[in-house]
């Protein structure tokens, strides 16, 4: 099988496989289209292979390695042949980059391919900034936003300055730092339903911290965390719009209501 290594120098028009992620596919396809726009604007050719489903993290983190591998094989197969694979999620990109090599260790058929995929895989915003060297996006967002650093992106992939760098270039947008931005929001995949009360405490603290900043919008780079935070904000009656950072960077917020809110 033909293996592609990540290009050493940026390609003029790299072929990017978009890993939509299962949550974006089901709940908020607009994030996927925002990613497509950002990647195309940066000169990429984007495809979203139809056979992709999920990175396998729910099984992996539940201790079910066999099913995790079975699901993950589908991703390795689906993203053969792309220069890069990009996901609008630090968690799913982190799963592929940091965990696939371990998950497939000793698997004769998949180990090398999984390693190769891991090398080519990136979280969306860090890909734009670190690999494509995007300095500015053409977007406008009138309002003050605050940003939550989702754990996997932050600690597994070092996503921290990249979203801030691009957000600071969005016309009309003021970024106000969130105290405790690096503290987990309490989502944690199945954790939030296995331990709902603890999760509730964590997300309540997060929403309170976000509200205290005075920002009207809370952004993050992972839809899992955003569903959790948005669901808590509406339940608690806190006036806070939750959005994926890609929606703002792609200038796609006009016709798209915030997560968990109805169209006005």
């Amino acid at each position: 099988m033909q293996e592609k290594s990540p290009p050493k120098t940026p390609l003029r028009s790299p072929k990017v496989g978009l890993f939509v992620t299962c949550l974006v596919d089901l709940f908020r396809p607009s994030i996927g289209f925002a990613a497509v726009k950002l990647l195309q604007d940066a000169g990429c050719t984007v495809e979203a292979p139809a056979s992709q489903i999920c990175c396998g993290q729910p099984a992996y983190n539940s201790g079910d390695r066999r099913d995790a591998k079975a699901v993950a094989r589908g991703i390795v197969d689906a993203f053969e042949g792309f220069d890069y694979v990009v996901a609008p999620s630090g968690s799913c990109a982190g799963m592929i980059r940091e965990h696939y090599p371990q998950l497939f260790a000793g698997d004769a058929a998949y180990e090398a391919r999984a390693r190769n995929l891991a090398e080519r895989t990136h979280e969306l915003v860090s890909f734009l900034v670190d690999v494509l060297h995007v300095k500015n996006v053409q977007a406008r967002y009138d309002g003050t936003v605050t940003y939550h650093d989702s754990c996997s992106g932050l600690r597994e992939l070092g996503v921290k300055h990249q979203p801030r760098a691009l957000l600071n270039g969005v016309a009309g947008l003021t970024l106000k730092e969130l105290p405790g931005a690096e503290i987990c929001c309490g989502f944690g995949g199945t954790f939030c339903v296995k331990y709902p009360e603890i999760s509730n405490r964590m997300v309540s603290d997060k929403i309170a911290d976000a509200a205290k900043t005075g920002a009207g919008t809370l952004l993050a780079g992972d839809l899992g965390c955003l569903l959790n935070m948005a669901g808590k904000a509406t339940r608690a009656g806190v006036d806070l719009e939750c959005r994926h950072v890609a929606e703002v960077l792609a200038g796609m917020t006009q016709d798209l209501p915030p997560i968990g809110q109805a169209k006005k």
Binding site: S30, A48, Q52, S62, D64, C184, Y195, S199, G231, T234
Partner: protein
């Protein structure tokens, strides 16, 4: 009360629930303050990251050659006039310590802070055998009076409010003629200090733990902030060190490398107030010291962790950085974990020591946010090992059947794109339509764990792949 005698780790979920509703506990936990101080201490030490690598390498090397270093250590202890006692089980360790205490006719023993003492439920055992154990660390002393186990490794009474301490002292110190309700921490400290002074002078044996055992010299090292450890080990006739094999480091130099990380990671201090190195009993020229020096080494399952995916856990130096930074620990406190070691390090170590069947809930109680690993001075991959425990639990079919079936059904669909899309598209279409007006659901069948506390945001309706296919047509 002792967790070692009656673990409640199985009930973590219920324990956590009660802790979240316990207003006194929540007030006591409040703001720990350690995390900020640690961050400042780390920022002041440019080589902190390099030290973490060195410390990890020192322990990895020691664990790889543990048999060699244990023998070297034993030889040095004996050379300096000390005695070694090897114990496999808590039972053996308790019995050994009791025999040692009886050999000097001990009526009371002072105790420096040891987690191993908690692990073997030493205090209740000594009491049952007619020996009064006296905890001399202020926090440990407070919870001993209250009959509670510690809820934090270095701040054992973190769950107790100032007012509760005052009440406890008023009740328990009446026997010493103290009958005034105190309001200021300083006064409480002075009262406890006065009472402990008498206990120190009366004690026939002193039992401490060890932060390090040094193979090169046969020394044990303890760190304290109160100086209680020194009085515990210097004043009585007999000093008993209760430790576990993984406390070993090859040299004093190695110990000092790791000591540079320990206090900074724990409290943000550059060094603990007292760092005390003990080597053997009192020598002829020494001004003070115990006549007998004994080291009790307890294994209790640690050796069997060597060579497994849990070996890295044996690098732990009990600094508590992982507890201090853990959002779950901060929400529920240490007692919810139901055994001796709380927080992320406990979630990895406890299943290793009392079994994953007893403690499987602990490694599940993590979002894998990774904060613990990022602050661990010994670079222990805590989330990875919690995942390994989940694997052991899953393989042994200890996780709830409904969760396993759900997972299996999901995994079956998630590797069959056509089936998966055939199932999810109509579901999302229906949810999208039903949720359009509100934008979210306050209730959803089968999603009670979610909607009990938060709304479920409604999906947009069509899936990405549906729209993508329509677009490319």
């Amino acid at each position: 009360m002792s967790f070692a005698e009656a673990p409640t780790s199985r009930n973590f979920k219920q324990n956590a629930s009660a802790a979240l509703r316990n207003e006194t506990l929540q007030r006591a936990m409040g703001y720990l303050g350690f995390t900020q101080k640690r961050a400042e201490a780390v920022a002041r030490l440019p080589e902190f990251e390099a030290l973490r690598d060195q410390a990890r390498d020192i322990k990895d090397h020691t664990l790889k050659h543990l048999d060699f270093y244990l023998e070297a250590y034993e030889a040095k202890v004996m050379e300096s006039g000390g005695h070694m006692h090897w114990c496999r089980t808590p039972e053996e360790a308790r019995r050994t310590i009791l025999d040692l205490c009886r050999s000097v006719g001990a009526r009371s023993v002072t105790r420096g802070k040891t987690m191993i003492g908690e692990e073997i439920a030493l205090n209740p055992f000594l009491e049952r055998n007619g020996i009064e154990p006296v905890e001399t660390d202020l926090g440990e002393y407070i919870i001993q009076l209250r009959g509670e186990p510690p809820s934090h490794i270095i701040a054992p009474a973190i769950h107790v409010t100032k007012e509760q301490v005052a009440d406890t002292f008023l009740e328990k110190h009446a026997a010493y003629g103290k009958t005034r309700l105190l309001t200021e921490p300083r006064e409480m400290l002075e009262e406890a200090r006065g009472i402990l002074r008498g206990k120190f002078l009366k004690a026939d044996a002193g039992i401490t733990g060890a932060n390090f055992l040094v193979a090169e010299t046969g020394s044990s090292i303890i760190v304290t902030n109160e100086g209680n450890g020194d009085l515990t080990q210097l004043l009585p006739k007999m000093h008993i060190v209760l430790a576990t094999p993984e406390k070993l480091v090859p040299t004093l130099e190695d110990a000092s490398t790791i000591l540079r990380l320990l206090a900074r990671s724990a409290t943000g201090q550059e060094f603990s107030v007292y760092t005390t190195v003990s080597t053997g009993p009192r020598r002829r020229a020494d001004p003070d010291g115990p006549a007998q020096y004994h080291v009790v080494i307890l294994d209790n399952g640690r050796i069997s962790m060597l060579g497994t995916e849990f070996q890295d856990m044996l690098r732990c130096i009990r600094c508590s950085a992982c507890l201090n930074h853990c959002p779950v620990y901060n929400a529920v406190g240490g007692h919810a974990y139901g055994w001796v070691y709380p927080g992320p390090m406990g979630s990895v170590l406890t299943p290793g020591l009392i079994g994953v069947d007893q403690a499987g809930a602990l490694p599940n109680a993590s979002t894998f946010c990774g904060k613990c690993e990022s602050v661990c001075p010994m670079k222990i991959p805590l989330p990875k090992m919690m995942r390994h425990w989940r694997e052991r639990e899953y393989e042994a079919k200890l996780s709830p059947a409904i969760a396993r079936w759900g997972l299996a059904a999901w995994a079956f669909a998630a590797r069959r794109p056509r089936l998966y899309r055939a199932l999810t598209r109509p579901a999302m279409a229906v949810l999208g339509r039903l949720g359009k007006r509100r934008g979210n659901f306050a209730n959803l069948p089968l999603a009670g764990g979610w909607t009990e506390f938060r709304d479920m945001p409604a999906p947009e309706g069509k899936t990405f792949h549906q729209l993508w296919a329509e677009r490319s047509r």
